[in-house]
Symmetry: C2
């Protein structure tokens, strides 16, 4: 990685620059924020709440980071509410944070500098389905389960499945992916176009419904994954997928994680169009057995799903069976019947709750990393050893076709020693992934939790990101203090 | 589309802004460029040429746009040459344009403000193949045919096929795609990471070899398609695909373009993983018949390719046969034998030369547009009518699975009336595509030729693009006058 010297190519944000990415000054600005909130109250009336319970609900985190509530919460009813609210915040230089359903995992929704939280839950309309084009346009508050429910009679589905029933807007913000990504891609691959409220409250459109374009900069992909720091999304046009005639689910066991990873690599090299391929380590299987009274062999296990025609799915299952045999895979069972499929995947679906039940009094903290698949076994094994050495409990589940995996650390967050041990495990994992030419997060995002790895991962490219932020949000009002710290 | 009012959200480039996207002032700056060229000569010696023939070769266009040669051409030998040259250009505020193989179609390589052209042909090394990860890292001068030749024994291939034997660097710059895009995506989908020389001559890296990441802004996709206006690419890491066990090629005829498009839509809705699906209109087939002494029915024709296992390919072909029957498709023939496949696709492979031969004394000018597939038949038919009404010759070929198609207008470019008619056809096509919620270019890019449509297609988002350009290239030295005009 390059360092940050010789960064004259851009207007480097620094303490001397008038518009640097500086922190909104809370202490000096209280009066200013009061004026902003008065202006918002005048504009929105009952849609605006300053109730502390409501504020705390919107500043919650899924981490050990402290709750940092916003000063007020707006329940936006349409895009014009969002645009007007941002315009007011822009006038008063007050931070503004969009809220979907609150399932982000790295403190993306905290309000370290206060400001306004715009809750998008009422923007929950599916605006337009185009069956012939396999596209849909939705408001950001629609959740992925709502969307798939809406689509149930169309023969189409929205394939991105990050586990949580996240809002589509939130999934855009964190560049979400999940179990289907190995075949269907991530949010970066399925977003065709966005409607975005900019830092000054203007509504713009990025992209069209054409499947591809070579007309100028790819603002859509710049917005996807920007965690609300470059604009607030008010409409999303997505590519959908056709539902295949036949779906089969299955699982098999391996002597070691290395063997399982080798089988996954060969599966992908052989062009098997696998729809899901998930690794659960031995501890995770043990947790699932205990939780759901299952009787699975407590060894590294792959859960797989095949999508295709009936003949195609049978052929895929046979090819997969041949592949795993080479690497000591055993007890491969699979089925196309829906009830049986659910039974086979029960352990995978219950992974989170099963893990939590290993230590019910602890908080379950999820972290993720992503590496080239050739390094996956090494990365998972070294991480498992770190967890063991620390005497902690941390089952591992991986979207292994992408080289992406999660550790669920069970931590007593009231014990500073445990928190420190957990932080150390996460720290070593993030750095290890980057050293393996991977990334400190495959799908959870940076938020507040992973800012310290941005320099190591991106080098001088980080300065380029900050130059873009400064150009598009000169007052640093859009979700400040996320992705990188605001400068003092 | 929104208009450009209320654009205060960014430092709007305008005549009052010190660092607006203004034209390098050639007349006043001659002396300054002389100094820059002297500095480049001192640095690079014989690697730098100011020979007019060499300069004109590097300012060529594939359009009716006049040749605008650079002031000098550097044959870069490595990334450090590129970085040093850009640094010198930066010091002297002289334009700098990267040159791959010269196959861009919208004047991307012209030098309207002079400056330095950096020829990348010597940066032609395949640096690293990672079979296990299906990735490769190459220098920008490698062409797609060179890369696939290099990969021939690995079981892997690079799937993006824009027709021309383009350089990978050029394909990054224009966000190229082509016949395989319906299954394998475009350059935006296969580029994992880039090494980029910034406007000040610094070398940065965007992305890693991990298949996905949620760590900060997607600079990789911002660079892809930016036509050399945000940085010069010196290394590219690509995702590869496994070569399938079986490939089948085929063709079939339809009564109308509408019927052919309906068959394509159903093919995609039915989840058929079609690898290529190309439409040739009746005139194009007639041209191919004449050129290669073929005997194809002169009606709209689909050329298809299936990739998969042997059983899978047979199943796909059978399903496709069933689908086309619904829409009057006839004479479907297909084969898996390589010689026979080539024979079947001969007409498609010869399309360009066959079209040109319809009027050998004319110049063949290629334009493209892309629309939602549900609008494709209407867009193609209206365009064909425009061509007929103008009394011109312009066969149509489409990457129809993406809603993307090309018109090859055969124009006597010495006849202003013909040029005007051709411009009018292209103008109506671009505007029609945008009105259909599509784009004025699916894969050729904007360059100089399509700048006038950026406002209609992007509205205020255009201002956001320009703010990014200004932030990353404040002196506007990177390929100025492309994508949008430089301001006076």
């Amino acid at each position: 990685m390059s360092d940050t010297q010789n960064t004259s190519f851009i207007n480097k944000p620094d303490n001397h620059s008038k518009n640097a990415l500086k922190s909104p000054d809370r202490s000096a600005a209280t009066h200013q924020y009061d004026a902003a909130i008065q202006a918002l109250q005048a504009q929105f009336g009952d849609k605006l709440s300053t109730n502390m319970t409501v504020r705390e609900q919107h500043g919650h985190t899924m981490t050990w980071l402290a709750n940092q509530p916003p000063d007020a919460v707006l329940s936006a009813q349409d895009k014009h509410d969002v645009a007007k609210a941002v315009e007011i915040c822009h006038q008063h230089k007050m931070p503004v944070i969009a809220f979907g359903i609150g399932s982000s995992l790295e403190g993306q929704l905290n309000a370290p500098y206060g400001g306004l939280c715009i809750d998008m839950h009422a923007l929950d309309a599916v605006l337009q389905v185009n069956n012939e084009d396999l596209t849909v346009t939705v408001q950001p508050g629609v959740t992925r389960e709502q969307l798939n429910h809406y689509l149930r009679d169309t023969g189409l589905f929205f394939p991105i499945d990050p586990g949580a029933n996240a809002s589509i807007g939130g999934m855009v913000a964190t560049r979400a992916s999940g179990t289907n990504a190995v075949r269907y891609g991530t949010m970066k691959d399925v977003v065709l176009a966005l409607e975005v409220v900019t830092a000054s409250g203007e509504i713009i459109k990025t992209g069209t419904r054409a499947k591809k374009s070579a007309a100028g900069y790819d603002l859509t992909r710049l917005m996807v994954g920007s965690e609300g720091t470059l604009g607030i999304v008010t409409e999303i046009t997505l590519k959908l997928s056709g539902i295949h005639e036949c779906v089969a689910s299955g699982l098999c066991h391996f002597p070691t994680i290395e063997d399982a990873c080798q089988a996954v690599m060969l599966t992908i090299q052989m062009c098997l169009p696998i729809a899901r391929i998930e690794l659960l380590d031995a501890l995770q299987i043990k947790a699932c057995n205990q939780y759901a009274h299952l009787n699975l062999a407590e060894t590294p296990t792959l859960f797989v799903e095949f999508h295709g025609t009936e003949a195609g799915v049978h052929e895929q299952a046979q090819s997969f069976s041949d592949i795993i045999e080479e690497f000591g895979g055993t007890d491969f069972v699979w089925d196309t019947d829906e009830t049986e499929r659910k039974r086979l995947w029960e352990a995978r679906h219950n992974a989170y709750h099963a893990s939590s039940a290993l230590r019910p009094e602890a908080k379950a903290l999820s972290t993720d990393a992503c590496v080239p698949i050739s390094r996956l076994a090494e990365c998972v094994s070294a991480t498992a050893k770190d967890i063991e050495d620390a005497g902690m409990i941390g089952p591992i589940v991986g979207h292994v076709g992408d080289g992406n995996f999660h550790v669920l650390l069970l931590v007593n967050t009231d014990d500073p020693d445990e928190v420190s041990k957990a932080e150390n495990i996460i720290d070593r994992l993030a750095k290890r992934a980057i050293e393996m030419d991977g990334t400190c997060t495959g799908e959870h995002g940076i938020g507040q939790g992973k800012q310290k790895y941005m320099q190591q991962e991106h080098g001088s490219a980080l300065i380029m990101m900050q130059a873009i932020k400064q150009a598009l949000d000169p007052h640093n009002i859009l979700n400040p203090g996320k992705i990188w710290p605001s400068l003092p």
